[in-house]
């Protein structure tokens, strides 16, 4: 996993609550055996007017020219609810997103983001509202500083927090499987004590 330190990028505001992972990447695009090839299908049903994905929907925010190249997705509450498909963060990442900012995330989606190095940032409702206002009125560029847990834009700054180990893993690009395999003796000791039925 790539290390995450700081990132500066353009914000695109997606003003919809309860965006589920079926919206982020519909099921017909899950039939791959590789981790790549999902970005082009991100938000397929909203981005395209037709099933085949040949007619771009000019009204969808990701298709608007002023947000082209955005790498920070600003979202509403309960982002990423529904299916556990990790294809959702893969698709967001491949499209170019490095950071998602929302007032709340669904639990499985949040873990999946951390595991692939896509930074999910929770801010409170008032801060989110302020960012929606700013990014809707004009182009908004934010600086994300993970080591210092702060989002800044000129004079504005918002603090955020992450679980200690998740922060460490993102900053250091930890191979979580390798990390746990170093604890194999502890795991074996646990197994030795398990009851026969377990």
């Amino acid at each position: 996993m790539e290390k995450f330190n700081t990132h500066t990028g353009l914000v695109v505001p997606l003003d919809i609550a309860n965006v589920d992972t079926d919206q982020i990447i519909p099921k017909q695009f899950l039939q791959k055996t590789e981790r790549v090839g999902f970005g082009v299908h991100l938000f397929h049903d909203s981005r395209y007017l037709d099933h085949a994905g040949t007619q771009v929907n000019p009204d969808f925010i990701l298709n608007k020219v002023e947000y082209k190249g955005a790498s920070i997705l600003l979202a509403r509450e309960n982002f990423g609810c529904g299916s556990s498909r990790e294809h959702a963060p893969w698709a967001l990442q491949e499209f170019g997103f490095k950071v998602i900012i929302a007032p709340s995330f669904a639990d499985i989606f949040y873990s999946n983001c951390i595991n692939v190095g896509l930074l999910p940032i929770k801010l409170n409702e008032a801060e989110i509202e302020q960012l929606f206002q700013l990014s809707t009125d004009a182009q908004l560029t934010l600086k994300i500083d993970l080591p210092n847990n702060v989002v800044t834009c000129g004079e504005l700054s918002f603090k955020f927090s992450l679980n200690e180990f998740q922060q460490y893993s993102l900053e250091n690009g930890v191979d979580s499987v390798g990390w746990t395999l170093d604890k194999l003796n502890t795991i074996k000791a646990f197994e030795a004590k398990m009851p026969a039925w377990q």
């Binding site: 919809i16 609550a17 309860n18 589920d20 079926d22 919206q23 519909p26 099921k27 017909q28 899950l30 039939q31 791959k32 055996t33 590789e34 981790r35 049903d45 099933h51 509403r76 509450e77 309960n78 609810c81 529904g82 299916s83 556990s84 498909r85 990790e86 294809h87 963060p89 709340s104 669904a106 639990d107 499985i108 873990s111 999946n112 595991n115 692939v116 679980n163 200690e164 180990f165 998740q166 460490y168 979580s176 499987v177 390798g178 746990t180 395999l181 604890k183 194999l184 502890t186 795991i187 646990f190 197994e191 398990m194 009851p195 026969a196 039925w197 377990q198």
Partner: protein, 472 residues
């Protein structure tokens, strides 16, 4: 003598599986059982190969083909090239890594969350994971069961453990007994209607109360299955004699002395009487009526004797906005009686409602209509959850009841719940579905889903609209 603080069932399960809780690290939990399928595993296997790592406990891992298989043919190529590639990849991966696979037409094949319990792979007091959000189903046995992403699938493959932060605890008590004709699906939809679709985010939920204790294992699975639909990490029901009787004798369940020891341990799992929960929600069972969703998340639900709500009914601006968006997508007008909503498709199946009791309940309703057929203009399919369910249903003659009434009797699989195979709704279709998600586009682009019980779905197939069966 050690004095232990009173604990909830979740805290006991957590404690029993805690491998390590090192400072500055996310706690490491042991995983007893890992269920896998074709869609969320291939990238995890690829990463194992890349790092030259084995599956640490292939005997704790079970694979099934369920998500994108055809329900018309057992041929691997029947659901298209993409599906066939994934299914073949699963077969190769299972062979290479030594994992038991229930492949096309195998007697044990079926939806992961149907076969786990019916084979005795699902046991109380265990941690069960699967790359699928409806893994919470297994919580019906008092197992801590939850869905995981593909990176976590890889972590479990390689280490048989998972890092998890501790969730908050929520108790949902359903007091008293439900009225006649009220199903487990109605109970869980009523709960989600009360909490909202993100009401339990960050929580593990424990369902309890007389109405829950009275449920069969199949019904308990329906309740726990939809825990994710209001955001819960997992749902739990305390194991009791109903649970032990169900598990005993199942193919993969412990036998003899080991089973007796297991039951003795499982009896200790229930939450201590004085344990405290972070949140407590109470419902009165007799107030729960048959439920139908009207919107595009499972929390947008009303009783079948109710009406489609208006945006003005919601004071919260987000809920109001969601209502406007949902009404537009669903093409519904506020004030419309739910019983006046007509459907043209019916799907009875999915990990929520495809077990033998669900099929019996649906067949019972069909019989109540005494020879009436699925109404013209409606296509209705029944997809059993597994080959064992299918075989049992056929031995009871349920398939004959359905086909005689004009329903299609299909082969097991996830089918139209998510439409990864060719069981997809067309744009504008309106479906009475026993599945778990009514998201926009879930069953097909531009299609409209109403979540209901098997009884309601069967009645909708015959009458063409929703019916308040209990007022007849």
């Amino acid at each position: 003598m050690t004095i232990t603080n009173p604990q909830t069932m979740y805290e006991k399960l957590w404690q029993n599986h805690l491998v390590e809780d090192a400072k500055g690290q996310t706690p490491l939990l042991y995983v007893d059982r890992h269920l896998i399928h074709e869609v969320t595993s291939p990238q995890a296997f690829a990463s194992l190969r890349l790092h030259n790592r084995p599956v640490r406990h292939p005997e704790r891992t079970i694979a099934t083909m369920d998500h994108n298989i055809s329900t018309r043919s057992i041929k691997i190529d029947a659901a298209g090239e993409g599906a066939a590639n994934q299914l073949r990849a699963l077969a190769i991966n299972c062979k290479d890594f030594g994992i038991e696979l229930f492949d096309m037409g195998h007697k044990n094949q079926g939806i992961a969350h149907v076969i786990g319990p019916e084979l005795g792979l699902t046991l109380p007091g265990t941690i069960i994971v699967c790359g699928d959000s409806h893994t919470a189903t297994h919580g019906a046995f008092g197992a801590l069961a939850f869905g995981i992403g593909t990176s976590e699938v890889e972590h479990v493959f390689a280490t048989q453990t998972l890092r998890q932060n501790k969730a908050k605890t929520m108790k949902i008590e359903v007091k008293g007994h439900v009225g006649a004709g009220i199903s487990a699906k109605d109970i869980i939809l009523a709960i989600i209607g009360k909490t909202g679709s993100a009401g339990a985010t960050g929580y593990v939920v424990e369902y309890c109360g007389e109405a829950i204790e009275a449920l069969s294992m199949e019904e308990r699975m329906t309740v726990c299955n939809m825990s994710i639909e209001f955001g819960a990490k997992a749902g739990l029901i305390a194991p009791d004699q109903t649970t032990f009787d169900y598990v005993e004798g199942k193919e993969y369940a412990p036998k003899g002395e080991v089973f007796s020891q297991a039951v003795a341990d499982w009896k200790n799992l229930k939450s201590d009487a004085d344990a405290t929960f972070d949140t407590v929600i109470t419902l009165t069972a007799k107030d729960i009526k048959a439920q139908v969703t009207w919107g595009t998340n499972p929390g947008q639900v009303v009783s079948v004797d109710g009406i489609v709500p208006s945006p003005d009914d919601f004071s919260d601006p987000t809920e109001k906005e969601s209502c406007i968006k949902a009404l537009k997508y669903m093409d519904l007008t506020p004030g419309t009686k739910m019983t006046d909503i007509h459907v043209n498709k019916v799907f009875i199946g999915s990990c929520t409602n495809s077990r033998i009791e669900d099929l019996r309940a649906a067949a019972g309703v069909v019989q109540q209509y005494q020879g009436q057929q699925v109404i013209e203009g409606v296509d209705a399919i029944i997809v059993p959850g597994s080959y064992r369910v299918k075989e049992q249903a056929e031995s009871e003659g349920l398939d004959k009841i359905f086909t005689a009434a004009g329903f299609e009797w299909r082969l097991p699989g996830c089918s139209m719940c998510l439409g990864m195979n060719d069981d997809v709704l067309e744009e504008g279709d309106r479906c009475a579905s026993t599945s778990n998600r009514n998201f926009e586009g879930r069953q097909g682009r531009g299609s409209r889903t109403h979540l209901v019980s098997p009884e309601m779905a069967a009645a909708a197939a015959i009458t063409g609209h929703f019916v308040d069966l209990n007022s007849q």
